[in-house]
């Protein structure tokens, strides 16, 4: 079971690295830039969480596999785009939703291991889930997508809350994690399918 979660985690890393590599391509970065943006997108959220928590050493320092998987995903993306033009956007969105689910639940879990209060644990889940994408957008000089696009972070918050609630019941750990991930996944898929968005807050620029 633990093995399965580890593999899911690595899958999330790979998927996020792909979104990073694609963004780097849109900015015409060189191959090193592609690699760095991919790695930051994949591992930035968890690193941010661990640095804020003072949780050392961070995951990718403990285990080289993370960097390796992110790098391979980046190189694979470049080759894939070079050889076969079209990217399966729908497939990528689905994979991204799955990665988000895994990262969110994992981040909430780490926070609870540090005996954080429930509110802070949810925040750590959100940071883990969306932090990498936010860093990617900042470095690529974009206003972060997740603050403007269809419902994204709300999915994290909901999944994290479900995780906290189910943990109070006498359920097996794997079931709690799986159910919380499912919640993130379903909300994301619904948001993508029906293009659900949060209301926006418009203010005229008065400078």
């Amino acid at each position: 079971m633990e093995k399965l979660f580890y593999l899911s985690d690595l899958f999330g890393v790979a998927v996020f690295a792909i979104t990073g590599a694609l963004m780097a391509g849109r900015k015409s970065m060189d191959l090193f830039g592609v690699l760095v943006i991919a790695i930051i997108t994949a591992l930035g959220g968890g690193t941010l969480r661990d640095v804020i928590l003072g949780n050392h050493p961070v995951s990718w320092i403990r285990d080289d596999t993370y960097i390796l998987v992110a790098s391979l995903a980046a190189v694979g993306t470049v080759l894939w785009v070079r050889l076969t033009r079209p990217i399966n956007e729908t497939g990528l969105l689905l994979a991204d939703a799955f990665g988000l689910a895994v990262f969110t639940v994992y981040g909430t879990e780490v926070a609870l291991q540090h005996n954080l209060q429930p509110g802070t644990a949810v925040i750590m889940g959100v940071i883990t889930g969306v932090g990498g994408g936010v860093l990617r957008d900042i470095i690529c000089n974009e206003v972060p997508l997740i603050f403007q696009k269809e419902i994204y972070a709300i999915a994290c918050i909901a999944g994290s809350l479900v995780f906290l609630a189910l943990r109070e019941l006498a359920l097996p750990d794997w079931l709690v994690s799986a159910a919380a991930m499912l919640v993130v996944l379903l909300i994301r898929l619904a948001a993508i399918h029906w293009r659900l968005s949060l209301p926006r807050f418009h203010l005229l620029d008065r400078d």
Copy 2:
């Protein structure tokens, strides 16, 4: 007395959260984006200081009140703007100056508790005071205002230095803190009133 400083600190959090929410509104972010930018503006400076110092757990992890106050301020800002268009810019500037004063003195104090050298303590005061606003501007894809606007950081530096100087005298703690805050506040108000700016360094772009 300690209670008063805690309340001042929370007031600073609320004020900075409002400036964050307003900036998010100028970028037409969704409600989640507004919340995140408000929280980062309010708590980013202190978090940056604590992470650089290795001072764990950071304030908002220790005490849920900080996140709560920042969130309420953000929601309140959105409702306020929706219901009654005009924002009292002058009032906001005054409140911001007060928040800056509190954060700067508090940051310098934390640094001294870590036995930092005076020069570094001043830097920590500045990071605590202006860090949140800088993070807000970076995420919102703007060149940070405080590097271009009227005197802002200079007020922090002056207040922090006054705090260090007065601590050498045999004054009660609350008086030292209050005097240093007053210095920040007065310099900021003078800068706003007479539109004082530091000289700029212009270089032509030769790329």
Copy 3:
């Protein structure tokens, strides 16, 4: 010998601070902004490395000299540009290459002292070498140059790998460091001279 490395380190700080001050000038920042960008460019890479490693206190907190040197370099740059217009771009590029070499090797060394795996040590070398420049570009609202320009980070990676390889042999420490720095320096100089670049990854923007 150790003294020599310390002086090299300070030289690297000064050089990176100059590049930061020049970038701030291109953004018409005020004098405080120039100072902050210079300090972040000079010390940001090492700080990022130390925060990710949980290596406290970070160098410039331990030793005030770093901040002092960066500040003096920033002030000197402004005066220099005011008094004698032209900047010797070639001289600056050479100095920057030297700073990069010192920082990269130093970062790799710190990582090994923390018993990191070789792959992660190389990453820490790269973060130390290029982190400050990346932070400078992010704050100044630019897509980081090193992800687009001629070979830069590759020089770090190569130098870091050479450092790791030579350490396995029974060579004196100073020789290992010097050789690795020379590798970074030579690759950078070759890249500048022949304008070598990594291939870019172009993707059309489809938003």
